[in-house]
Amino acid sequence: MRKMLSDKITSIQPSGIRKFFDIVNDMPDAISLGVGEPDFDTPWNVREEGIYALEQGKTFYTSNAGLMPLREEICNYLARKYNLNYEPKKQVLVTIGGSEAIDIGLRCLVDPGDEVLIPEPCYVSYLPCAVMADAKPVPIELKEENSFKLTPEELEAAITDKTKVLIMPFPNNPTGAVMTKEDLLKLVPIIIKHDLAVISDEIYSELTYTGTRHYSIAEFEGMKERTIVINGFSKAFAMTGWRLGYACGPEKIISQMTKLHQFSIMCAPTNSQFAAVEAMRNCDRDVAGMVDAYNQRRRFMLSEFEKMGLPCFTPEGAFYIFPSIKKFGMSSDEFATRLLKEQKLAVVPGTAFGASGEGHVRISYAYSIENLKKGLERIQAFIDTL
């Protein structure tokens, strides 16, 4: 039989975490600090709106780009929160989560051989999506001594005459790093000088703990016309299962993304879109409450790791903490595997997020304090044996 599969798809390594998943799934009594989604339920008013939409028989397709009232609310929201101004008719696309936006955004921006800069550690989909778009992914290894931020020197050093796109994954999963206004401003002249496009994945924008608001790179002079801002409902509104995100950017790019979205997806789930309108309009208090809870857990985890003697970068965003396990002389994979086998606690090895995650594990604090305590006890018991 002739070869069935494309070289492109078989060349992509399955996520490094696959075999780890399998072990976890075989251990029903294992507890986990490994999730990447909120522990909160979607606020009730949002769920109620989804139920109401179903009752009303709103089960048709929406326009390809998404319900107009939702696109309008997205624009209001971005203007109100992040000083970003987009035109609902032409510069917004409602997608199946942020992940679809990453995929089609890349496919719309690159030609074969173009290089895509991916600051790592980061979420796992940029690299395979770049490969499937025939681009060449170029990781930039972020360093803990730079607080896992992307520095102008690192950016400049990674740029070649083939570089086309820079991914900006901040606030960052898994490190919790954020880029401040000042940090971003230092990158802007380099991006403009080399005429790069930017895909700014801001899915954790609501979850920052610095005391100042989140800044988007698209806010700065000369950036809006070259940036796709990706955001969504999963993290801020605890709506992961609704599968809803959005991309905003110049009409030139969004119209092409909408074309691709039309052919592969048609439209995002109608029911989720109706619910999301409510989320944008009436959830500020719920979001503030969740942010407050995450921030309390973040401080609690930092203090617990300090007591344990595990060095830990202070995360300022998302809901992860990324302690260093270098002093135990094991790889992060070995540490996570042994922790799972010996104490039945699942955490994610840092290398799942790129080579520069080596020496760290990602621990999620999207759990109640009580459950965090149970997990921490197991980590303590494990390191006591080392």
């Binding site: 401080r299 609690f300 699942a346």
Partner: protein
């Protein structure tokens, strides 16, 4: 959010919270938390610490009733004097002055329907200022003070997602 509001939010959910842990969570020192709480107790912002009990699960018989009371307010004293005469009875757990079709909501706990009925007939209704009482017995408590009774929440999330 103000530190006081954050402390109150935490205590409202769990008044037995460990203060050292609360201090860590709020990013302040433990004495600071303790002082704020002491001050709020003095200022009667914190008025007490109760335990939320699902009495249905105990062998103790208890009934709760909500009574709508209409009264005639008194000259110079308004509603407060008559309210005081009512809420001083220790059977009454909560009492509110209402807008709308009646004046007071009185929540009463008793050993039996009979004891509550007796209270209404013998103590509450005969008061001079009371015009009428409508007594509603609680059949089942689903949720009190933000807590859903009998709710067991299972974490159904996939154990690892990236």
């Amino acid at each position: 959010m103000e530190i006081r509001e954050q402390i109150l939010n935490a205590l409202e959910k769990n008044s037995r919270i460990d203060l050292a842990e609360l201090a860590v969570r709020l990013g302040v020192s433990e004495p600071e938390v303790a002082n704020e709480i002491a001050d709020m107790e003095k200022e009667h912002i914190i008025c007490g610490y109760n335990t939320l009990i699902n009495w249905d699960k105990t062998s103790d018989e208890k009934v709760t009733a909500l009574i709508e009371v209409r009264v005639t307010p008194q000259r110079d004293l308004g509603y407060d004097a008559i309210a005081e005469r009512i809420y001083k009875y220790e059977e009454i757990t909560s009492m509110y002055l209402m807008s709308g079709g009646f004046d007071f909501t009185v929540i009463i706990e008793g050993k039996s329907m009979k004891s509550v009925a007796n209270f209404v007939a013998m103590k509450l209704a005969p008061l001079d200022s009371v015009q009428s009482c409508a007594t509603h017995f609680v059949l089942k408590k689903y949720k009190d003070y933000g807590v859903v009774f009998d709710e067991e929440k299972k974490d159904e999330r996939v154990k690892i997602t990236l």
